[in-house]
């Protein structure tokens, strides 16, 4: 079982290098991340994007890209289509988003998945490594579906459960998060929780468990009505789930980036396709964070092929 990001980094060096198609590496931080991931033995990059920009940024990063395969293409959708089809044909092991709108990549993934008649829905899974927790957790969907309905939430759960099985968690626990309080009536997200809990119990979501907690407070307080101090509720003692299902995108996007203000939380995000991972760094991520996301991609790529 992979419990921390340090585990991921160690495994990435062991299982790499993986062929990694980099979709439009046209930004300094991103190019630097590709260089460092290559130096650490995680990846063998395939670079696709605008020739001028790639060559200029590689020069600025003092990164000699002559040994690598390069595909020059300036149309943004063209870059996404070509890169993602290489992932689905098995020509590369993983893909990563550079300076290209995320929506273009999602469109390419949906196109390839429907060709493969899988019809899975695209969702972003953001892993959190919380110091002191002892296992990985995740927030999803943090990037695609603005207001996922019950059916969409089932697909979002399936994608995350698939990832956690790959990471060595045989029965991941899921908290269907809601803003439900003792006031304000019943929220749609709470109704979704009740239905998802019931179908999970019947085994319709595969090997996983929807727990009764629908909020972070529920997870920590576990039925207590009050608590005197934070020292009473250390995270290591909480039955903290592996998957936190977000009620909607605004909530997911705000919660997932709270790592910016919590020193002991680190974040890495990806989209799982049936043929391998697509890492989706945030446009605000710096190179060290992107290297970490590449390591996550390497490990999941390795395990998708073996699964």
């Amino acid at each position: 079982m992979i419990r921390t990001f340090d585990d991921l980094d160690r495994l990435a060096a062991e299982k790499g290098p993986k062929r990694f198609i980099v979709l439009a590496p046209e930004d300094e931080e991103f190019m630097l991340a590709v260089k460092q991931s290559w130096q650490r033995g995680f990846i063998e990059p395939v670079l696709i994007g605008s020739r001028d920009k790639i060559e200029r940024l590689a020069g600025e990063a003092q990164f000699d890209i002559t040994p690598f395969e390069k595909i020059f293409e300036s149309d943004r959708q063209g870059i996404a289509n070509r890169g993602i089809s290489m992932l689905f044909s098995g020509d590369v092991d993983m893909a990563g988003k550079g300076q290209i709108p995320t929506a273009f990549i999602y469109r390419s993934i949906i196109r390839e998945e429907s060709k493969a008649r899988k019809g899975t829905m695209v969702s972003v899974i953001s892993l959190w490594d919380i110091g002191g927790l002892g296992h990985l957790t995740s927030l999803t969907d943090t990037g695609v579906n603005i207001n996922p309905d019950y059916e969409s939430k089932i697909e979002i759960i399936r994608n995350a459960v698939f990832l956690f099985h790959l990471l060595g968690y045989p029965k991941p626990r899921i908290s269907v998060l809601s803003g439900q309080r003792e006031i304000g009536g019943t929220l749609e997200s709470y109704r979704d929780f009740e239905r998802l809990r019931d179908v999970a119990r019947k085994g319709e979501l595969g090997s996983c468990e929807v727990i009764d907690a629908t909020s972070i407070a529920d997870i920590f307080l576990a039925g207590r009505k009050s608590f005197a101090s934070y020292a009473e509720i250390p995270i290591g003692k909480a039955a903290f789930p592996e998957i936190l299902l977000m009620p909607n995108l605004s909530t997911g996007n705000i919660l997932v980036k709270l790592d910016f203000v919590i020193p002991h939380v680190r974040r890495r995000s990806l989209v799982m396709t049936t043929r391998g991972p697509v890492i989706i760094p945030s446009r605000s991520d710096f190179h060290d964070a992107i290297v970490g996301e590449i390591a996550l991609g390497v490990v999941t790529a390795d395990r998708v092929r073996k699964a």
């Binding site: 003792e182 304000g184 909020s215 407070a217 005197a228 605004s250 909530t251 996007n253 705000i254 910016f260």
Partner: protein, 302 residues
């Protein structure tokens, strides 16, 4: 300017004692913080509820019931209503929720005829005292509104600005949060945020700066904002974070409390008199800050 919870407690100690009505009382006579506030000279408590049970509980806690004013009203809903009447009649300053459910208690407090609602809507602010910052930050609305309309958000903003002014923040900086930093009709909260920002530009909130829509990374981190091409005096400097809905607000507050471990006090705003509610995620050790804030708020909003 009040920069942390300690400053708030000290400032409350300088205003003179306020009369705080705790209702309904009985098997509950308030958290330890209420009694701490009495000892610290911040408040004089008045209990409304079951007299015999209140006296018994007070004795069990080591107090002499004769030292306190206790008003008999055994029915929980009527005792909370009576407490509200006492502050409406200026015979007390602050109401504090006792053992009555959140919905019935708030229904009484926010009743347009007989309650304490002052502004168009009331709203809830989670006030944080992050150890790494030398100032307080606010997130709102974190409890009351499921999906606030733009009209609600305007009042939610005004309510938070009122609290900021009480804390001595002369020109509050506000981040109107959404999922992305671009205006996108598919995500209505981006449009609400843009409207609020434009209103602030036209000085409709007074001396206030609002930037929006902002996603949270742009709001909290100036370097991240620069990478995304957002340049604003608010990025990395926000005093107030306006959230798009209660799911985002309440869950942000919960992560900040339970995972980040940031001290948090909840404040109900938009009422004629301060009301201390049982916000489910306030820890006992931060409850005194809530009472101290109520003391400071008292007399500021009639």
């Amino acid at each position: 300017m009040l920069r942390n919870f300690k400053d708030i407690r000290e400032a409350a100690g300088r205003t003179g004692k306020k009369r705080l009505v705790f209702a309904p009382s009985g098997p509950a006579v308030g958290p330890a913080a209420l009694h701490e506030a009495v000892r610290a000279g911040l408040i004089v408590p008045v209990f409304v509820g079951d007299v015999a049970a209140t006296e018994k509980t007070l004795r069990e806690r080591g107090f002499s019931p004769r030292d306190f004013e206790i008003i008999g009203e055994p029915d929980p809903v009527r005792s909370a209503a009576l407490a509200i009447d006492l502050v409406r009649g200026n015979r007390a300053d602050i109401v504090m929720q006792g053992s009555l459910g959140h919905q019935p208690f708030l229904d009484l407090v926010l009743d347009r005829e007989r309650g304490l609602l002052r502004n168009r809507v009331a709203s809830f602010v989670s006030l944080f005292d992050p150890p790494a910052l030398d100032r307080l930050t606010m997130v709102t609305d974190t409890y009351l509104h499921n999906s606030p309309s733009i009209a609600d958000k305007i009042t939610i903003t005004e309510n938070a600005v009122q609290l900021a002014r009480l804390l001595g923040i002369a020109s509050p900086k506000i981040a109107a949060l959404s999922a992305i930093e671009q205006v996108n009709p598919a995500i209505p909260s981006t449009m609400d945020a843009a409207i609020l920002a434009k209103m602030a530009e036209r000085k409709q909130f007074g001396d206030v700066t609002i930037e929006g829509p902002l996603d949270i990374d742009c709001a909290v981190n100036e370097r991240a904002a620069t990478r995304k091409g957002v340049h604003s005096t608010v990025t990395g400097q926000a005093d107030i974070y306006l959230v798009p809905n209660v799911e985002a607000g309440y869950l942000t507050a919960q992560i900040s409390v339970f995972i980040a471990g940031t001290p948090m006090a909840g404040v109900l705003m938009g009422t004629t008199h301060p009301v201390v509610i049982n916000y489910p995620i306030t820890s006992g050790e931060n409850k005194l800050a809530e009472i101290a804030l109520a003391v400071l708020l008292s007399g500021t909003s009639k």
